[in-house]
């Protein structure tokens, strides 16, 4: 019973933090643009407004199921990621499970967008999948390097390894950390890798027919996925986190770095994205693997 309460609290706080981060993102980028920007709690208002929309349309059963699969999948992933030494289900699945669970919501939303029968959505999905191919390749090299060092595939053990040995992989494996920042940029869908949601080119891509509560659930998905991806980075490179305050501080600093890159860069085209990922982060990650193998 206590476990169920703890898990519910975990999910709720992850959602709330994620929404706050999204609001923080808008504020931060606005300040870089030398304007005020919306308040930090803006996303909560947005979601409540979206859920109060009436007379929505849907294109079929899969359209409805897709947002459920998206939100359900990311919450399931959340439960397998260890955060601030709170392991909900991490003992039953390791980093490989997390990586594959991250693909369920993407696939779910791809199916829903496909059912919308709108070519804007289909183009958006094809670009998003190519982008995913781009950033997952260096990601595999990076976590292989860390798995070799820690001799385990469990994310919790990777965080504990850094805590017990007293260093962070951030400076032990600097090349991998640099490559991971680029990967994180792609995972979060921030510029310069936000080709999948290119509002002016393809009418927000996959989200073109999602409105009202569908869009609300997509926002919740985005919030939780920000939390999950930042936590994965922190567990891999920043030594996990000892408690919630530590976690939040690390997430805010990391997210600020991501946002600073986002505010300055324009958008890469799809071929440029793939070529970039195949060249620079790949080489960095390969250097890291060779360093680990030689040691």
């Amino acid at each position: 019973m206590v476990i169920a309460l703890k898990i519910t609290l975990y999910i709720l706080s992850a959602t709330a933090l994620g929404l706050l981060y999204m609001g923080y993102a808008r504020k931060f980028v606005a300040r870089i643009d030398r304007r005020y920007g919306p308040p930090i709690y803006q996303q909560f208002i947005d979601i409540l407004k979206l859920f109060s929309k009436k007379n929505l349309i849907s294109h079929g059963v899969i359209f409805d199921l897709s947002v459920m699969m998206g939100l359900g999948g990311i919450i399931a992933t959340l439960l397998f990621v260890p955060a601030a030494n709170f392991y909900s289900f991490s003992n039953y699945g390791d980093l490989l499970v997390i990586l594959y669970l991250l693909m369920i919501p993407a696939l779910g939303m791809a199916l829903g967008a496909g059912e919308a029968a709108n070519p804007n959505a289909s183009i958006g999905i094809s670009r998003a999948l190519i982008l995913m191919l781009g950033y997952e390749i260096p990601f595999t090299f990076i976590f292989m390097a860390i798995m070799l060092t820690v001799k385990s595939t469990s994310l919790a053990q990777m965080a504990v390894f850094q805590q017990t040995h007293g260093f962070w992989f951030l400076w032990k494996m600097p090349f991998a950390a640099l490559a991971m920042i680029a990967v994180l940029q792609g995972q979060l869908g921030e510029k310069p890798f936000d080709i999948m949601v290119a509002p002016h080119e393809i009418a927000t891509g996959p989200m073109v027919e999602f409105g009202g509560k569908y869009l609300g659930m997509l926002f919740l998905f985005k919030a939780i996925s920000i939390f999950v991806e930042l936590t994965i980075f922190i567990d891999l490179f920043l030594g996990g986190a000892h408690n919630v305050i530590d976690l939040v501080i690390k997430q805010v600093i990391l997210f600020s770095i991501v946002l600073m890159i986002n505010a300055v860069y324009p958008r890469f085209r799809t071929e440029q994205t793939v070529k970039f990922y195949l060249l620079i982060p790949n080489t960095l990650a390969l250097i890291e693997i060779i360093r680990v193998l030689v040691r």
Binding site: L56, L71, G93, L101, A117, I130, L148, G212
Partner: protein, 616 residues
């Protein structure tokens, strides 16, 4: 005794098919079902069941855990594929011959996996080759592509069989016996180079049948051009005969301990073999991405997945072995499911061209469900079965510190996700064309296989122990270390897996998301023409569908590499030989004086060589 049973069964099927098409199919299914039950009740221990002496050579048939696994696979999928024939009875194809041929192929494969000496092995192998050729070409007289592809298969298989025959003769010369039991005892007498040489000879037919680079060029055309009951059987089971041969050779005949120590040119032979499998994982998957025909796309994936089944054998340790063998079973389940689904689509629409179809989810929802579960399994996404076997393979490769191989496996999975999304999008999602507005649903005899195979996908995903415990018995038979499998996953020290928890978590969160969903406003369903088009109205005449060149940016990046292909190399060699023989023909054609000159000169040379000593 086994031959008697086989011949009797064949006779019954022929008679049944001659009487009535449906009766033939029913008898076929009954015999295959009986075979499945017989394999299921077999014990896991090694047990010879029959010995004969033919032409002075001893012939042995045996059953053990490996034969049990493959036997259940062959008979189970034969049962399901045969049941698909019911829908084709009225379509006017010569179902009688096809039914009998399917049974004949099944019987030949059962003979192969039961045989434990080289003579019966080789005999069954040749039988399978010929029957497969007949399967691919009978009934396709009008289909030039099918005939050409089956001819290519026959030539390549025949050449490969010569390699196996050569290996057989060498073994006979070295050991004087053809029984695998005796050969495996005497293998330790040979040197490293000799064993590697024999392995290379024997690998050629196995790799050809399994469709591994670089001997894979016949697979795509040959499988894609046959009718659905055949394609599902061919892709799921037929290629795995090559995998069976490889496992038998590496682990039963050479033996696990000696196999890991083999070296070629100073490098470890299993490691090079695993790299060959890794290339097979990646390259065909990206070729599949660019296909425009649904069946070809799935067949190229079949070639790619064959790599997964071999990479764990070579470099994965105990976990990799379990993963690869589990992948054989999982792959059979979901590829059969995918081919049954696309078979339903082809049955109704007559085409599998990905640029013509679209939106069929509205007319054939059951085929969509089958395809969805099939692609989730193929891409290896939890909680279905493909994920578990791939997880085992990754763990095995990481555990033995073969990082780059694990990376190749992962890249193969990424490519798979891309191309299966393109497949399901172009066939089932998007805009439904006007001409398919009144399509009927999935045909009746396709429905039960889709339900059964989907249930198996889910079952093997949540309870992988059903299969992995049998594989642990196989490992025990071969004297290898067993993987610590549990009913739901694995209990290893370096990272656990419990599929029940994963599946229950995912279902729970899905329900939670559903509750949040129903808290929002009401929605109504609209048809596909109520869509955002920049203010325009979408009408049935407009094509509002993005399906051609689905991954155009990726295609532009990959295009320069596509110029090189193994198939063009083979064709170039074949052309060269043909030109040479044409030249010789033309040179000597009705030109007796030239022929006479050559005969005189060659005879003189032979005379000089033979009687060299006597001349001076």
């Amino acid at each position: 005794m086994i031959f008697d049973y086989a011949l009797l069964a064949l006779l019954i099927v022929i008679v049944g098919a001659a009487i009535n098409k449906r009766l033939g199919v029913i008898i076929n299914m009954l015999i295959m079902g009986a075979a499945f039950v017989w394999f299921y009740t077999m014990p896991n221990m090694f047990r010879p069941i029959q010995t004969n002496v033919i032409f002075g050579y001893e012939i042995v048939f045996r059953t053990d855990a490996l034969a049990r696994l493959f036997g259940m696979l062959i008979s189970g999928f034969g049962f399901i594929s045969a049941s698909l024939f019911f829908s084709y009875v009225r379509k006017g194809r010569n179902i009688k011959y096809m039914n009998v041929l399917l049974f004949f192929k099944f019987a030949a494969m059962i003979l192969l996996i039961l045989s434990y000496d080289f003579l019966s092995f080789f005999f069954s192998w040749e039988l399978i080759t010929i029957i497969t050729f007949l399967v691919m070409s009978v009934g396709e007289w009008n289909n030039k592509d099918a005939l050409k592809a089956s001819y290519k298969y026959l030539i390549m298989s025949a050449i490969a069989s010569f390699f196996m025959m050569a290996a057989m003769f060498i073994i006979l010369k070295l050991f004087g016996t053809l029984k695998f039991e005796d050969i495996s005892f005497m293998m330790s007498r040979l040197s490293n180079g000799q064993i590697v040489g024999l392995t290379l000879l024997v690998l050629v037919p196995f790799l050809t049948k399994a469709g591994v680079l670089p001997l894979h060029t016949w697979v795509a055309d040959a499988y894609a051009n046959s009718i659905t009951p055949y394609t599902s059987y061919l892709t799921s089971v037929s290629s795995r005969i090559g995998t069976y041969g490889i496992i038998l050779w590496f682990f039963s005949i050479i033996g696990h301990t000696y196999f890991t120590k083999l070296k070629i040119g100073g490098m470890s032979f299993p490691y090079l073999f695993a790299w060959l499998a890794a290339l097979t994982m990646v390259i065909p998957t990206f070729i599949a991405l660019l296909q425009n025909s649904g069946k070809k796309l799935l067949t190229w994936h079949g070639i790619g997945q064959g790599g997964y089944m071999l990479v764990g054998l070579g470099a994965g340790g105990a976990l990799g072995f379990t993963g690869s063998m589990f992948h054989v079973v999982n792959y059979a389940v979901y590829i059969a499911l995918l081919f049954v689904s696309i078979g339903a689509v082809i049955y109704r629409t007559g085409t599998d061209d990905l640029n013509e179809l679209g939106g069929l989810i509205k007319r054939m929802p059951l085929a969509f469900l089958g395809t969805l579960i099939g692609i989730i399994g193929l891409a290896g996404i939890p909680p279905l079965n493909g994920f578990v076997s791939k997880w085992f393979i990754y763990k095995g490769l990481i555990g033995t510190r073969h990082v780059f191989l694990a990376d190749m496996a992962f890249i193969g999975t990424l490519g798979t996700i891309l191309s299966v999304y393109k497949y399901i999008h172009n066939v089932f999602l998007g805009q439904l064309p006007e001409r398919y507005k009144n399509l009927q649903g999935t045909p009746k005899s396709f429905r039960a296989p889709i339900w059964i195979l989907s249930a198996l996908c889910v079952l093997f995903g949540v309870y992988p122990g059903i299969v992995t415990q049998l594989i642990a018995a196989v490992q025990q038979n071969f004297g290898m270390i067993q993987s610590p499998v549990t009913v739901h996953g694995i209990a290893a020290a370096a990272g656990h897996l419990n599929m029940l928890v994963v599946s229950l978590t995912f279902s729970g969160t899905l329900v939670l998301a559903g509750i949040i969903f129903f808290l929002g406003g009401r929605r109504k369903y609209v048809d596909q023409y109520d869509n955002y088009a920049g203010g325009e109205k979408v009408t049935p005449e407009t094509l509002y569908h993005y399906s051609a060149e689905f991954y155009a940016p990726l295609y532009r990046i990959i295009k320069p590499v596509l110029r090189y292909s193994v198939d063009s190399f083979y064709m170039w060699t074949a052309n060269l030989v043909q030109r040479l023989s044409n030249f010789v023909y033309e040179y000597f054609n009705y030109n007796f004086s030239r022929a006479f000159y050559f005969i005189i000169i060659f005879s003189a040379l032979i005379f000089v060589y033979r009687f060299k000593g006597m001349l001076w």
